[in-house]
């Protein structure tokens, strides 16, 4: 993750005490891949596209997110019921802490003081205080909450329920559910468009993406995916990424083994790029020229040239890779 130094200094000044990282963030030029069956993160050099090594972490690492400052990567580990903080400069764990039961997806408030975490077994969204490392609140939602995303202003947090087929919208100040939005079957992950006026949510068993208007909290569009020679049942979209310019959305189509390039303005699928088995997590590099797609059932990661819509290389990573975060 890259931030201009001035903004970074400001950010650190604001959250002094919370962040313990080095004063100056340096982009590592690496992509970090979490793999469900390994207790490690795989590092891949973004330029050479070679694996440079692994970082030990807790059991069954899945969701990852950089803390402000861009030097500490927070990892949720499902089987360990923990989160780990990795210092990407030293490639060492700074320590783990209890982080709910079977944690999977989470997001942070803009000030990184609160982590919002889906508590799957409980059917709740947890508010986790990052200073005390304690759950401060839990808001009941539909069963098996999964994807979590915080609005850029931090006032709302959105969470999907895989069982209720809804997106729950929670006011972070009051902890109240302000809307339940019916979307497609088994909603999973989110991405905002460039100005955050739209929230895209993938429906794994709906073979679709629902587009929610963040102004009136209702579904304004649905994109149904089709892949030639495949049936709707084979198309299981999960992970999403939005290009920096906001013009293109990249959607991993799961078992369809393709990534769809969607033109945000027209909602049209412009390209379908073949990747490995069960395209799961997707991530972009900083200038958006490369899309990284981890393939959950072929234990590898495909790197795509986004301008040409062509795969460049497929790199073996860990067992059952889940997510990729690019830090170039």
């Amino acid at each position: 993750m890259h931030r201009p130094p001035i903004r970074l200094a400001l950010a650190l000044a604001c959250f002094a005490g919370a962040a313990a990282g080095p004063a100056v963030a340096k982009d590592t030029g690496l992509a970090y891949i979490s793999s469900e069956k390994d207790s490690t993160l795989t590092m891949v050099d973004v330029k050479t596209l070679e694996v440079t090594g692994v970082i030990k972490t807790c059991k069954r690492p899945r969701h990852m997110k950089f803390l402000p400052g861009g030097t500490q990567l927070m990892v949720a580990c499902g089987d360990a019921n923990k989160a780990d903080i990795i210092d990407v400069q030293t490639k060492q764990s700074l320590g783990t802490f209890a982080f709910g039961d079977d944690p999977e997806a989470f997001d942070l408030s803009p000030d990184a003081k609160t982590a919002y975490i889906s508590l799957e077994d409980e059917g709740a969204l947890g508010f986790f205080d990052m200073a005390t490392k304690k759950l401060s609140k839990s808001v009941p939602v539909g069963k098996e909450p999964e994807g979590v995303i915080t609005s850029p202003d931090g006032k709302l947090v959105y969470v999907t329920s895989e069982v209720a087929n809804k997106v729950h919208v929670i006011d972070t100040a009051s902890g109240k559910v302000v809307a339940n939005i019916a979307v497609g079957k088994r909603p999973r992950r989110f991405a905002f468009n460039a100005d955050a006026s739209e929230l895209w949510v993938s429906n794994e068993l709906g073979a679709s993406v629902s587009i929610i208007s963040t102004k009136d909290l209702s579904v304004k569009d649905t994109i149904n995916f089709e892949v030639k020679g495949m049936r709707a049942d084979d198309i299981t979209p999960v992970s999403l990424a939005m290009s920096k310019d906001g013009k293109t959305a990249y959607v991993g189509l799961g078992r369809a083994n393709h990534v769809a390039f969607v033109d945000v303005a027209t909602r049209k699928v412009e390209q379908l790029v073949l990747v490995g088995k069960r395209a799961w997590g997707v991530g972009l590099n900083k200038d958006g020229s490369r899309l990284f797609v981890v393939n959950g059932l072929s234990d590898d990661m495909t790197v795509i040239d986004t301008a040409a819509a062509k795969p460049l290389k497929t790199i073996p990573v860990g067992r059952v890779p889940y997510m990729v975060v690019v830090d170039d």
């Binding site: 098996e144 895989e162 339940n180 049936r231």
Partner: protein, 388 residues
């Protein structure tokens, strides 16, 4: 609340009676099981035969209702689960009529095939068979009778596909002495034929240590004298089949009711989010979630989702309408959407191949094709079914 009462409620709301808005509609789900169920005798359950029930289906029903509490609360829909036990077919018929009169939206059945066959047509409300696998029940084409447990033929087709995909094309078929075994053996042989597997021999076995009957009871003698790639055993009781693996004359795998099983669910399945469902069930019922539990759970989910489409009037008519709609699909935690086949009302679904430890394969096997829905390669497809 009956459907008519529901309509009255809507009318009351329309009239603007303030108090009416406080009342939630009620959805009644009936659960009909057999009294003194010998399959659930603790001594039998203790043996843990794969493919056999592990406890009352009401535990899965309750869990399905509980996991929907958020949506139900949101829709102001109250659910009442009414569990009744009956002793025979006549009792089943009377209970179903009582459920219908009482305004139940659907009834889940954990009854023998014969009881269902003789009572299902006495009512119009949707019935969901969650526990009987017999194909004859599917072939009855009763319009209000749905099935969530995979049929025997679906399981046999899944096994045949798995054997085919392994290139284990020569099988020795052994079948037990009960009438059920004979019926299931015929189904297995139909699947064997469909997938062009060669049955090198079809032999009866008998659970006996009598030296005079050793040709029927001795695994070495039963499995000797011929070559085969696998032994497919049909043993509805389970005791003989359980002891067959590792006791065959040739070092070959055993499949069917011993060794590798084709089941609707397995408690160690770890894909498609299933560990969460399994954990939820174990927490609630204090036992592993087996195929019959999955069938009861998905049946309840089907009724709830159908009712939630019209939460103000969640009656039998609404549930029937939704369940028979071709686009009514459910998430069964098996990776693909599952739905009811319009011809015989069977829930199409993937089948898990398990040895009781892990899930080693999922059917439909990779490479098996179908012009419409590959799940319809398991069980009787539309052109083969008697039902239209």
């Amino acid at each position: 609340m009956t459907e008519r009462a529901g309509q009255q409620l809507v009318a009351a709301l329309a009239l603007g009676l303030a108090a009416a808005s406080l009342h939630a509609a009620t959805l009644t789900i009936g659960v009909l099981s057999r009294a003194d169920d010998e399959r659930l005798d603790p001594k039998r359950v203790e043996l843990g035969y794969l493919g056999q029930p592990g406890g009352p289906i009401s535990q899965a029903v309750d869990m399905a209702v509980k996991e929907s509490d958020y949506e139900l609360g949101d829709a102001k829909l109250q659910v009442k689960v009414d569990a009744v036990e009956v002793a025979d077919a006549a009792g089943a018929k009377a209970a179903l009529q009582k459920f219908e009169k009482g305004g139940a939206a659907a009834v889940l059945l954990d009854l023998p095939a014969a009881w269902i066959a003789s009572s299902a047509t006495a009512v119009k409300l949707p019935l969901i068979n969650t526990a009987d696998a017999s194909d004859s029940l599917r072939a009855s084409c009763t319009p209000n009778l749905f099935h969530t447990l995979p049929s025997e033929r679906m399981r046999a087709d899944a096994m045949a596909q798995t054997l085919m995909s392994r290139r284990w094309q020569k099988v020795l078929v052994l079948y037990g002495p009960s009438p059920e075994d004979a019926e299931r053996s015929a189904v297995a042989q139909a699947s064997i034929k469909r997938y062009a597997i060669k049955p090198v021999a079809v032999k009866p076995f008998k659970l006996s240590a009598d030296p005079r009957e050793r040709a029927l009871g001795n695994p070495l003698l039963l499995t000797g004298g011929t070559d085969y790639d696998a032994v497919w055993i049909i043993d509805s009781d389970g005791e003989f089949a359980r002891a067959l693996p590792y006791r065959t004359q040739l070092p070959r795998p055993v499949v069917g009711d011993g060794g590798l099983f084709a089941l609707g669910w397995a408690p160690h399945f770890e894909r498609f989010g299933s560990p969460q469902l399994i954990r939820r069930f174990e927490k609630a019922a204090h036992r592993p979630m087996v195929s019959q539990d999955w069938a009861a759970w998905i049946a309840t989910k089907a009724v709830l989702e159908a009712a939630l489409e019209q939460p103000a009037s969640p009656g039998a008519a609404q549930v029937m309408k939704a369940l028979t709609r071709p686009d009514f699909v459910l998430d069964g935690f098996k990776g693909v959407r599952v739905s009811f086949r319009p011809w015989d009302r069977q829930l199409r679904q993937p089948i898990l191949m398990t040895d009781g430890q892990g899930v080693v394969a999922i059917a439909p096997a990779e490479g098996v094709l179908h012009p419409k829905n590959v799940l319809d390669t398991l069980g009787l497809d539309q052109p083969e079914s008697r039902c239209k």
